[in-house]
């Protein structure tokens, strides 16, 4: 136990140094493995264990024990229980037990004016019942559905958090360093489930002012959503997955995506909360924009030239990502280790770097487990600044 406490302190210090602009003793590892990964890795049934959440402790425990990382790799906040109770069209369990979301939209062209005037009212009255079919009913039934769904959400999330906290102590993970909040860029929020990307792209052509207005209306909601439930700290961060920008022309990015996204990150930072961006797809043409964000914004890159990105962003922001998880499936152990070394040699010098992969690992069979373990072991023993 004392060993674990000491290990935990060591790990906490790594992240404190990282975010305090010092050089940590070694490159910290911030691995995130999905709940599906944990369940599959433990050999359990995917659908069963997401419903019977008492099974999750075994799954998470096995996973936490077998992979070297400095933060707890377990993450779970989407559970089928409340989505099912609500009759979700957007989060649906597929036949193999994965909770994913098909393209649906809850926001029609005629809703823009109401949304711009009062976004939360529009969401409660119009958007939610379109996406969550069990809410599309009389007020009495609707309040019962909502109560059940919230209870299910609370029970499952609290249960998950208790397990994760227990394992953080058991395995000496650092409780700081990853992220402790979640929100989206206003344009992504509008595109993901409200309007749908295909529709909003048409809206940009047909009613551009309304798209701008809607993003501006969504901004305060995203700022409020992105603040953690406890006082912000320089060691916490709000996770913001960036979706649609790479699909837009620069002109459209500049007008529709960037302004409210920048304001969101700036406002969070002004309150003391950094952003942890998952920079999905290829943002190479927008690197100069990313540079403008507040210092020490965490940026997890899916694609891009690590040399170029280190050069442009590495003195100001905390970089991570780049390591392609597909390599863990198709390459030899040595090739996987060599890739880690290659990235560390480029990204670590000078600091402001932590190790993770180019995306979260979603399933146990999408990687060769031995390769994954070998890479993590290599990084924990050899990755210095």
């Amino acid at each position: 136990m004392a060993d674990m406490k000491a290990l935990q302190q060591e790990r906490i210090q790594l992240f404190k140094d990282l975010y305090d602009n010092k050089l940590p003793k070694r490159v910290p590892i911030n691995l995130v493995l999905s709940v599906e990964f944990a369940i599959q890795y433990a050999g359990m049934d995917l659908a069963q264990a997401q419903w019977d959440t008492s099974m999750l402790e075994i799954a998470f425990d096995k996973m936490c024990g077998d992979f070297i990382t400095d933060t707890n790799p377990a993450m779970a906040f989407r559970y089928p229980s409340y989505y099912k109770i609500l009759g979700a069209r957007n989060f649906v369990m597929s036949s193999s037990g994965f909770l994913q979301h098909p393209e649906v939209h809850g926001f029609e062209t005629e809703d823009y004016d109401y949304f711009i005037q009062s976004p939360y009212d529009c969401i409660m009255e119009r958007v939610l019942p379109r996406i969550y079919t069990e809410l599309d009913t009389n007020p009495v039934q609707r309040s019962i559905v909502f109560a059940k769904a919230f209870k299910a959400f609370f029970d499952d999330v609290v249960n998950g958090n208790i397990i994760i906290a227990k394992l953080t102590e058991k395995y000496g993970f650092s409780p700081i360093g990853g992220f402790d909040g979640f929100c989206e860029a206003p344009f992504d929020f509008m595109s993901d489930q409200l309007r749908g990307f295909k529709n909003i792209v048409g809206d940009i052509r047909r009613i551009p002012d309304k798209v701008v207005g809607a993003c501006e209306a969504a901004l305060p909601l995203m700022i409020k959503t992105g603040m953690p439930p406890h006082p912000p700290s320089p060691y916490g961060a709000t996770f913001i997955p960036l979706h649609m920008a790479p699909f837009l022309r620069e002109k459209d990015f500049e007008k529709y995506y960037w302004p409210t996204f920048k304001k969101l990150v700036d406002d969070l930072a002004a309150s003391g909360q950094s952003a942890y961006l998952f920079v999905e797809h290829d943002w190479t043409r927008f690197l100069d924009y990313l540079y403008e964000l507040p210092e020490n914004t965490r940026m997890m890159f899916e694609y891009g030239d690590p040399k170029l990105i280190k050069d442009k962003l590495g003195k100001k922001h905390i970089l991570t990502g780049f390591y392609p998880i597909t390599l863990l499936k198709t390459a030899t152990k040595q090739q996987c280790i060599d890739k880690a070394k290659e990235l560390i040699d480029i990204l670590a010098p000078g600091g402001k770097y932590m190790f993770t992969f180019d995306k979260n690992i979603i399933t146990a069979d999408s990687v060769n487990i031995e390769n994954l373990q070998a890479v993590l072991e290599y990084v924990s023993e050899n990755a210095n600044y």
């Binding site: 009062s118 939360y120 909601l221």
Partner: protein, 47 residues
């Protein structure tokens, strides 16, 4: 926020002048806590 579906504690108190001042330190975190939880839940449903 311009909405009928979320209140700050001050807005709630303005509508409930009957609240005993002595109870505010224990009532406010509880009631406002639930208000914040509802908001967080609704937003998560759309992200």
């Amino acid at each position: 926020m311009n909405t009928q579906y979320y209140k700050t504690w001050d807005e709630y108190m303005a509508e409930h002048p009957e609240i005993d001042e002595k109870l505010i330190p224990v009532m406010a975190p509880k009631i406002q806590g639930y208000e914040e939880m509802m908001f967080a839940f609704v937003m998560l449903l759309l992200m």
